[in-house]
Symmetry: C2
Subunit: 432 residues, 2 copies
């Protein structure tokens, strides 16, 4: 904060200062479009997507009514239809909404599943419902728990499911309602067996949600889409084009296989906004399908990128990101200072690994080595940030101490950037 005038004053500042402020904001920010920025599932800066976002900002309108966003509302419908087709719902009258991020999309899935089974929830609240339980796959994103907390279900009623028999073990007065399967977990990039989960959901009458926020992009790839086989049997899907598809933040779609459910679940019929006596077909007013009122235009940038790339263009980008992950996997396998968290070809672009500094390689496996290894990634990352050369995420997971998680979603990244990362980690960590 030194030398950066952040405080707000009563009097205006001159234009020159405003320009300095803009430069400083970019200067001290993180270059998320840089080919060596690997810190999050969203990275890169697609120039057509950026143009789309700039145009959206200039249009400065709101998705809630067709009246003031006619073009964007129609684009949303076209995009949802296209995404329905790619999920395998081409024959179904499906529905959906673009929401402010995957966590909100996942919240929609629980909200709609609950309403479908217990429509009285809307007026009577949870007091009128039996005890309900939600099931999530083992490495599911924390957003389902967050949804349970927000929606008044409670995080205790979110149960991690490894095997089918967990469903049989829950108390008889608890109603199993919903399963969230993950297509591309956040840390490992793993895929749940969707067809098996769909079988279980059918057998027990459960709502099946697929959180494909991260992995959904593979549906664009004829080579890799098989990893999501079974997604067509889901009742709802979360798919974030702002991740693997490289659309600027935010762009998240919630898809639901039944038309009318979102509207019934969320509508409040506000007379000042959703006048029934408008000149046009008011089913184009999307605002009453949402948990928001005003809603940002997140569709145009995706629509424009799709036009500019075509489905095949996205496929090329995504295949390339997966090739880079395979390349990194092979490199890690061949370098003796690195250890893979899983010795298996990556299914998505996540590759998880430890860097083992020379000093640690002399220590035998055991708690002492684990304790030291746990400190390696944070120390290297601190140096990385200080030097500003590259950026990659790390975390512990389950019984595994801190490891690096590499992900690829930036089309600007090349093999040489992967080599750079490994050499940089060695350079920054070899004295640890």
């Amino acid at each position: 904060m030194e030398g950066f005038s952040l405080e707000l004053r009563d009097q205006p500042e001159p234009l020159e200062q405003i320009l300095v402020d803009c430069r400083d904001t970019l200067k001290y920010g993180v270059k998320t479009g840089h080919p060596r920025y690997f810190n999050q599932l969203s990275s890169g800066l697609d120039i057509v997507g950026l143009a789309g976002e700039w145009l959206s900002a200039t249009a400065n309108t709101n998705m809630f009514t067709y009246e003031i966003a006619p073009v964007f509302v129609v684009m949303e419908e076209i995009l949802l239809k296209k995404m329905h087709e790619m999920v395998g719902w081409g024959e179904i009258e499906a529905d959906g909404i673009f929401s402010p991020g995957g966590t909100i999309s996942n919240l929609y899935s629980v909200l709609v599943a609950r309403y479908k089974r217990f429509p009285e929830i809307k007026t009577k609240g949870m007091a009128a419902l039996p005890h309900i339980s939600l099931f999530v796959s083992e490495h599911s994103h924390y957003s389902i728990k967050k949804a349970a907390a927000v929606l008044g279900i409670g995080t205790d009623n979110v149960i991690a499911m490894k095997e089918e028999h967990i469903l049989l073990a829950i108390p008889s007065d608890h109603i199993p309602l919903y399963v969230s399967a993950t297509a591309g977990t956040t840390v490992y990039g793993a895929f749940d067996p969707l067809d098996n989960i769909a079988d279980i959901c059918e057998k027990y009458g459960l709502w099946m949600h697929v959180d494909a926020a991260w992995g959904g992009g593979l549906l664009m790839s004829r080579k890799h889409s098989f990893k999501l086989n079974g997604i067509e049997r889901a009742n709802s899907v979360t798919w974030n084009p702002h991740k693997l598809m490289g659309v600027p933040l935010q762009c998240s779609a919630f898809l639901v296989c039944e038309k009318g459910l979102l509207q019934a679940c969320n509508q409040m019929c506000a007379g000042y906004l959703f006048q029934p006596d408008k000149q046009y077909d008011t089913t184009y007013d999307t605002g009453d399908k949402t948990i928001q009122c005003g809603r940002h235009v997140d569709v145009f940038k995706l629509w424009l990128m799709w036009k500019a790339k075509g489905t095949r263009g996205f496929e090329i980008l995504i295949n390339k990101s997966l090739e880079l992950a395979e390349y990194l996997y092979r490199e890690l396998n061949s370098r003796e200072n690195f250890e893979l968290v899983f010795d298996a070809e990556p299914e998505l672009t996540n590759v998880c690994f430890w860097y083992i500094p020379p000093n640690l390689r002399r220590i035998p496996n055991g708690p002492e080595r684990e304790k030291l290894l746990h400190q390696v990634a944070p120390k290297i990352k601190t140096r990385m940030i200080e030097e500003g050369t590259t950026m990659v995420s790390y975390q512990p997971h389950g019984d595994k101490v801190n490891f690096f998680r590499m992900v690829f979603s930036n089309p600007a990244t090349r093999k040489s950037d992967v080599d750079f990362l490994l050499e940089e980690i060695e350079r920054l960590g070899k004295d640890l």
Copy 2:
């Protein structure tokens, strides 16, 4: 949709087509920045705000961690602090978050009020809670009902409160939890008596929320801020700079008078994102305070506008919008073909009125005239949209048939635009 190639294909389209698409998108869109666009509470297009949004899009980052949005996270803190001061919380360690719209900000208020009183809600859900009731003032926004539906409280438990004794009339096994007062209602622009409501809330131990999504901007005006007297006694406040202050969509702040509550209510401690062993003070990671995970950068455009205008600049704009409302009110009073819904000086920029076509003036007051009058505003609006000359909202409200609701928030609007609107309504409606 004729002549506008909206469909998405497998193959990319040439750059020329992309440019045509951009032009068409703007051409068929609604010009929300036009000085004669009065359709919503958000209008206008501030050029510094737009530049801010463009820069935010270029930075393409995410508010969830300080690590990848250091500048924007600090700016959010500075903005919240500034807004706390203007609310009158300068001495309190308050908190807040920018959210995707006022409805989500209002949802936060109920969420946090519920958690404060019943922290077990987070893990146990509503099953562990007594029957709770929320109270709203008469013309409150529908978002509180929406929040009750989403949060599992149920819309039946949202009670419109006209008088204090309603609190005494609720069943003894129902716990009154929360009151939402409105500072600037959506249709009338009216202000609840906040000090009186604060007295009631203190007496009964209720959470006091002030929905100042629309009226909050008046806090920038030394002339008009008295209308929000008592807001300093609230537990939480919603304030949307994207409305009266003219910040591009979306920019909504939820303010809460207690530090730590948002975090406690919403945190899930996801290890992959909120590593405790980071190099910096991780209380700067705002992501676990929210119901989202990823969060769009909505703060920069407001920060930059505040720099460029100063608090005094916002004051000038807002005072001017109120002057236009007063001008319109006087004009309507003096023109015989118009009728005011309320014969009182506007408190905010809302002015509600009927246009009475000559044919209707011959019909005596009664159901027949009401029925015909109800059709006038929609018919005029249809013609307005077809001709594309101006745009204003209408709605029925309570026992009142369709009337026009004018609002001012666009700094580009002049008195001549107000004159134009009235003349245009007459021109389009005189044969009805």
